[in-house]
């Protein structure tokens, strides 16, 4: 299921109409020529589209995933979506290490025999770590007096055109709520820190996901984010889905087992 969702998400997030290359890739000699004549051309996206369908259908997911990673890599250096694309490419690269064609796949449809194992759990752990890093580095970066006292948020509301609110009066207005910006800033840091940690505590996985979605919904009222919020929420699946351990593994639960060594 994650494979199908990932293919859909990649197709959506890497849609690159009107985008142009930016450094560092575009700074390479001849890169602009390659971008304008090959990469940002319809046939290139057609190939990506076919491979995404193949990935979704579970046709040789490891090879297809790795080829897709290589084809999508240059699209991570365009004028928009660099961060979300970095996050999704990491997820794709890690997921491509798994034999994810056991269920909901062309292989399953043909009735090929069951695999012993889809592979180890560590690629999924990498995807989970990526989500933790997204929230963790942001919480750490905002742990400054200037951010916590609200100065940076006020400044950003003045300077960034994608901010929907004006915080110049020192208050954040949300419906009837009138919150001092310093409290809003502190809350942002606390929530991001919680989201970095909460998913790793098995009892808090669902509450953390709900808080994360609510957080991003409120954020959309404040600032228009290109795709990083959606890419982050997509990675919640790495914690929410069941990664069943294989039959020959030590722990046999048939349910999500976060101590397991492999996925089936």
């Amino acid at each position: 299921m994650f494979r199908i969702a990932l293919a859909g998400m990649l197709g959506w997030a890497f849609h690159s109409l009107w985008l142009q290359p930016v450094p560092p890739l575009s700074a390479l000699p001849g890169a602009l020529c390659v971008y304008s004549h090959i990469i940002l051309r319809r046939p290139y996206f057609l190939v990506i589209g076919v491979l995404l369908v193949a990935l979704a259908a579970g046709v040789r997911p490891r090879i297809v995933g790795l080829i897709l990673f290589l084809l999508l890599l240059p699209l991570a250096s365009l004028t928009a979506g660099q961060l979300s694309r970095q996050v999704l490419l990491t997820a794709l690269l890690a997921f491509s290490m798994l034999r994810s064609d056991e269920q909901w796949s062309w292989r399953a449809l043909r009735g090929d025999g069951q695999r012993e194992s889809a592979g180890p759990i560590w690629p999924i752990r990498l995807i989970q770590v990526q989500l933790t890093l997204v929230y963790g580095v942001n919480a750490l970066a905002k742990l400054t007096p200037a951010y916590l006292n609200g100065e940076i948020l006020i400044g950003m509301s003045r300077m960034h055109p994608n901010f929907h609110v004006d915080l110049s009066d020192g208050f954040f207005h949300l419906a009837s709520l009138r919150l001092p910006v310093s409290i809003a800033a502190t809350a942002v840091v606390m929530i991001e820190a919680f989201l970095a940690v909460g998913f790793w505590l098995s009892r808090l996985v669902w509450p953390t996901a709900i808080i994360g979605v609510a957080f991003h919904l409120v954020l959309q009222r404040i600032v228009q984010i290109y795709m990083l919020d959606l890419a982050s929420m997509f990675l919640y699946l790495a914690f929410l889905l069941s990664w069943r351990v294989p039959a020959n593994d030590r722990v046999q639960t048939g349910q999500a087992d976060r101590r397991g060594h492999g996925v089936a």
Partner: protein, 135 residues
């Protein structure tokens, strides 16, 4: 490695190779994670302009829209003047202000600060009407 560990599924058929790949990807993710920081810093820039007539009278003018959000908060503070000045020059050359009576001056004030709304750094730039460039 214990017997149980030998039965663990692997990607490359070698736990040692798996470990190397895992550590390499983990290291790359850590190195690139710095790029994922968003909305944690801002450079606030404010540009104002005043007209000083030949008789010395000073009139504050509405700041042209192109200077409403210089750099949109992303410029490095030490680059602000270098980046705003050419924009002012372009604006003055193409606007009707430059054709005003000789002796009229346009005083542009750039104020800015990093991560603060107290704009404690300032630069003044004077453009004389009829001249080709400002000072």
């Amino acid at each position: 490695m214990n017997e149980n560990a030998k039965n663990w599924p692997t990607v490359t058929a070698s736990p040692a190779r798996d470990l190397v790949i895992f550590m390499a990807l983990f290291a790359v993710m850590l190195l690139l994670s710095e790029r994922l920081r968003v909305y944690y810093a801002v450079t606030v820039v404010d540009v104002t302009v005043a007209r000083i007539l030949p008789n010395g009278r000073l009139e504050t003018l509405p700041t042209p829209l192109v200077f409403a959000r210089p750099g949109e908060g992303y410029w490095r503070p030490e680059k602000v003047v270098d980046l705003v000045k050419p924009q002012i020059e372009n604006y003055m050359r193409s606007s009707t202000w430059s054709s005003e009576a000789a002796g009229t001056r346009f005083e542009w004030t750039i104020r800015w600060a990093r991560n603060s709304t107290r704009l404690d750094r300032q630069y003044r730039y004077v453009w004389k009407a009829g001249d080709a460039e400002g000072k």
